[in-house]
Symmetry: C2
Subunit: 385 residues, 2 copies
Amino acid sequence: MAAAHLGRTSRSAGGGRPRPTLEQVAARAGVGRGTVSRVINGSPSVSDRTRAAVEAAVAELGYVPNGAARALAAGSADAVALVVPETETKLFAEPYFSGILRGVSAELADSSMQLLLTLIRDEHERDRFAQYAAARRVDGVLLVSVHADDPLPDQLVESGMPAVLGGRRSGTETVPYVDSDNVDGAQIAVEHLIGRGRRAVATITGPLDMYVAQCRLEGHRAALRAAGREEDERLVAHGDFTEEGGKRAMRELLERAPEVDAVFCASDLMASGARLALREAGRGVPADVALVGFDDSAVARHMDPPLTSVRQPIEEMGRAMVRTLLGLMARERDSVSGGAGGVGGTGGGGINAAGGTGGTTAQAVRRAAAGSVVLPTELVRRGSS
Amino acid sequence: MAAAHLGRTSRSAGGGRPRPTLEQVAARAGVGRGTVSRVINGSPSVSDRTRAAVEAAVAELGYVPNGAARALAAGSADAVALVVPETETKLFAEPYFSGILRGVSAELADSSMQLLLTLIRDEHERDRFAQYAAARRVDGVLLVSVHADDPLPDQLVESGMPAVLGGRRSGTETVPYVDSDNVDGAQIAVEHLIGRGRRAVATITGPLDMYVAQCRLEGHRAALRAAGREEDERLVAHGDFTEEGGKRAMRELLERAPEVDAVFCASDLMASGARLALREAGRGVPADVALVGFDDSAVARHMDPPLTSVRQPIEEMGRAMVRTLLGLMARERDSVSGGAGGVGGTGGGGINAAGGTGGTTAQAVRRAAAGSVVLPTELVRRGSS
DNA sequence: GGCTATCATGGGAGCGCTCCCATACTTGAT
DNA sequence: ATCAAGTATGGGAGCGCTCCCATGATAGCC
């Protein structure tokens, strides 16, 4: 019997550094295990004398609590993951992630949670992460840029893992999310173009299998309706959020409807592509055609002329995601059961019906049961419109 | 006594999903705990019948092993961290990280390790991560873009955590690393310029408190020496790896030494800045001044004219880092002690004394005890030189 | 047919914590 | 002085695994 134990002990006993345990710290400080634990975790019910003694022992021994043991006993991992189901190429290309990351980090700064960024590029990596999460190596998960058919969010929620989406997958999103008011943003943009006297306002959409693209198109339409104009399918071209796609779409528009004098692009990158196509066609911006983008990214500022664009509060979205997640985690923690967990959808349905140009904001900010949030967008006016 | 237990059990018992344990799977399958463990971990000594029964039970119950318990019992976390001590802004701006990340992920693909990306922007975050690592939440750490005065690598090594650097901090790096042959790369670049008949070959260096910048400057000098030319301090300007810094440095050079007809820039970004300053001064590239950069990044290809640049095998560096790390981890694992762990420096000293233009490669590839690696660089010739 | 390798299996012990109950010691009000 | 109501503290139990020893079963050998 003793041998069984010896075999394992010798392994670590042979190592260079001792890696002390709670028990050893306790012995060193002349107190009980529980007391050391209390000190480590900042419990108030420890006398100053004792606390000092323990802290001294911890310092002398260079004690660091074993995370696995802690996680096992306490049932929490002290870490949250930010999952990006994209290639690193895309991750590094889109300024969106940088903003989200900044917000997330900032909001997480004064928690003791470790943030883990995880890229998921294929099924294999997805499964591995699902496993990791199911094994409770993290306490919560933030997901951004999730595609409509990605099963991961549901898998996570089903396994009881608190999760928050950055951006909905559809109008009937069931997982708690933080999103920006894409419909309203698009509507403001197009109303702006109409307000500047533009007659033939076209749009270049994103890929319509993405909800965000649907929303922006919906906003475009809503603005036209509000202005009493008819929708003209000739003035709707489809892109894929890339520069190249924008260029192609713009060429289409020029060919199909040469009278076009304004274009609302569902992303700055596409606007940049449109700009190229316009230059190619000898059309001036904004003289001949006014241009508005979406995202207010760096490219918008660097374009010539600088691009009017719809700004979404990306950093704030990151922060809101964290707040929502921490809320879910707290609920999960102290609920003896919480019924089906923090799942419950927002109950929302269809595209968020944004109202007027500015009035929407107030109501839109907070939504629904799960703590999901929709943040307002804003138009940044520059030379292109 | 029973109450103590009840209190805790009820917490999870009340939850929606049961979250079965090994023991329950064992009961379900009608086998012992050990057997289930064996099946989970793919031990060969399980009969097919039993294995099938266990697998069925696992599937029925939706069993997923608890990571914390596993980590505690087995002493490994099944995860490695990639640490980037930079702001997200820089992370996303430099294509370097994207390449490293690609290589790291690829090499890690068929291990079961989860990769965790961690940004460290301030001391607070550094301490938090150090804590996380000391708590053994990861089995190994990869660090890139580490500044010379960063204590983290040493902290990690000291706490017995396997760690590998991407890029040395100095010529006497004590932590295992993977680096590219910066001296040789710079030397090739400058030899190329000299070979093209350029007479006044200047250089724009990186920040000289970074070893990589020192190496590239050293390569520049080595090439001049090899060509029997004198070093002219007027032809050395200092940048900071940014575009703006490169522009400033180029202006200085033009003022100080108007006869300059070639510039080796220690980064593509600085070369891009230099290009701007040259255009500003009405100097043509390569007609008046030949330009060479370093990194062979996207900007190099997009410049006008396209930039000749020194390519480092970034992705391969990422892969090599992982291989080295896995090696260290294996050593750590099965060594009953391994003496002082995997620390042992490379014993190297001073700047890697690269020899001839191409001959170096072979010897340079593998170095030193700890498994540290220096990979060769290569010149990609384009229109700018 | 008896005896020793081999194989599959069960389950004890322990990983290093947290939780919480019980205990011992205070302090203050009666 | 006496008892109630804290306040600090010690330590048992248990978290869910892995490891490894012992055991029972099966097969192979002289």
